[in-house]
């Protein structure tokens, strides 16, 4: 496995629970993964194996899914914990990310 999620990811998940106003707390396991407890689901977040194109693996009640980014991790966690959540996936715009010269 790749390196464990660092503390900034732990804080992001903890703050996300607060922002979404859903119950739960985030802890680190002895093997370095992050788990979300105190909620209706068993959720575990690991770094994906380095040979995969994904960066994260999110396991919800035993079912493991890859996530390509932290944004995708948040989407999966929110979908699992917040029954009122419907992913509102927006694209900012088909605009240049940097100015054209």
């Amino acid at each position: 496995m790749s390196a464990a999620p660092d503390d900034s990811v732990l804080e992001l998940l903890a703050q996300s629970l607060l922002a979404w106003r859903v119950a739960g707390h985030v802890e680190r396991t002895s093997d370095g993964a992050l788990v979300i407890g105190g909620c209706a689901k068993n959720i575990r977040i690991d770094r994906a194996p380095p040979d995969l194109m994904f960066r994260w693996m999110v396991t919800v009640d035993g079912r493991q899914r890859p996530a390509i980014s932290l944004v995708a991790v948040l989407r999966q966690v929110r979908a699992a914990l917040d029954p009122g959540y419907t992913a509102n996936r927006v694209r900012i715009a088909a605009a240049p990310l940097v100015p054209s010269q």
Partner: protein, 351 residues
């Protein structure tokens, strides 16, 4: 920044807060001589149109209901028609447009329309939001009416009216009202209109686009002075009482942000808390564009495509993002940006 754009200012404020009185005064000023006005009233019979003594061919009244409810079609079509008439010489060559909303209008959809439908045309730019607040009734109105709170929260300028009627607004009550306004919007300067009279330059040149210089005035737009740096925080500043649902705060960041990280950050904000992002605006130091900062702004789920200034407006090259939110924790926004930028950096080096 396009130098040929026409700024569109939004004049909002709760019922009876003095919008039309102030607009009537402003339209009599030389600085406002070339102004087109769009008025929206809630109800079948509009009166504001008759109260404005200005060139009739440049005043359009929308009587189709509350502007915020039908904004995407009616407002966009009205603005397009106004531009067409201007281009064809069928009305005066106005240099700005003011939209006076109904007192019950949610300003967010109006701002969104200005940032999307109209931005595509490239002719108009949001010139700032001005909110009138009736000093006599403000405390009760703000306590009772969520729309009133939202109107104050999104303002670039807040104008207190009817102070002449508020004899009981004593020396102690006035600071209390100002504090109350600050809980919803600490960034907007609070101005005073005397029987509708106010310096036009103070009121409507509040947007990103400065009509006087025909360029972006980021510092004024972000109200940086109000979001001063005297509190000793490193990342940002909260400017509202903790018991208020609506809070304004600013993220400050020394390190440049990768362009992809900024996009992902804005998308995540909109995805998870879009309804509660009343307004976001900022100037961002993009790693890939160190000399040309990005200007961003959005309302709820809608974000204007970032635009790039030709140069930094001052020596301060920190990213500054101002958010006015309802129940969105500042710390979450901060760690979201930090984590996404760190991940994008990690990917960039092959992590």
């Amino acid at each position: 920044m396009n130098t040929d754009v026409i700024p569109v200012s939004v004049l909002t404020g709760f019922l009876g807060s003095g919008k039309t009185t102030m607009l009537r005064h402003l339209l009599g000023q030389t600085e406002f001589a070339r102004t087109a006005v769009i008025i929206n009233e809630f109800g079948e019979i509009g009166l504001d149109h008759d109260l404005l003594a200005a060139s009739q061919d440049s005043i359009i009244e929308l009587q189709t209901g509350c502007l915020c409810c039908k904004v995407r079609t009616d407002l966009a079509e009205t603005l397009a028609d106004l531009l067409r008439r201007r281009d064809e010489g069928r009305c005066m060559p106005f240099e700005r447009i003011v939209i006076e909303t109904s007192g019950l209008a949610d300003p967010a959809p109006i701002l969104q329309t200005l940032m999307t439908d109209i931005a595509v045309a490239g002719r108009l730019v949001l010139g700032g939001v001005v909110t009138t607040v009736d000093a006599v009734n403000a405390a009760a109105t703000l306590a009772r009416e969520g729309i009133s709170q939202k109107q104050v929260a999104v303002a670039d300028r807040i104008v207190l009216t009817k102070l002449d009627l508020s004899d009981d607004l004593t020396d102690s009550a006035r600071p209390a009202l100002l504090r109350r306004l600050e809980t919803f919007n600490a960034g907007a300067p609070v101005l005073i209109a005397d029987h509708g009279r106010i310096d036009p330059r103070l009121v409507f040149d509040a947007g990103l686009y400065d009509p006087a210089t025909k360029s972006a005035d980021v510092t004024a737009w972000l109200a940086e002075e109000s979001h001063g740096h005297a509190h000793g925080h490193t990342n940002g500043h909260a400017h509202a009482r903790h018991d208020a649902e609506i809070k304004a705060y600013a993220l400050l960041r020394q390190e440049p942000i990768r362009a992809v990280a900024l996009m992902l950050f804005l998308e995540a904000l909109a995805e998870h808390c879009g309804d509660d992002i009343l307004r976001l605006k900022g100037i961002v130091n993009i790693l890939e564009s160190p000399d040309r900062p990005a200007v961003i702004h959005g309302v709820q789920h809608v974000f204007h495509p970032p635009s790039f200034l030709d140069r930094w407006p001052s020596d301060d090259r920190r990213s500054r993002i101002v958010l006015i939110t309802r129940r969105v924790p500042q710390r979450w926004v901060e760690v979201l940006l930090e984590a996404i930028d760190a991940e994008v950096a990690d990917v960039a080096v092959g992590g």
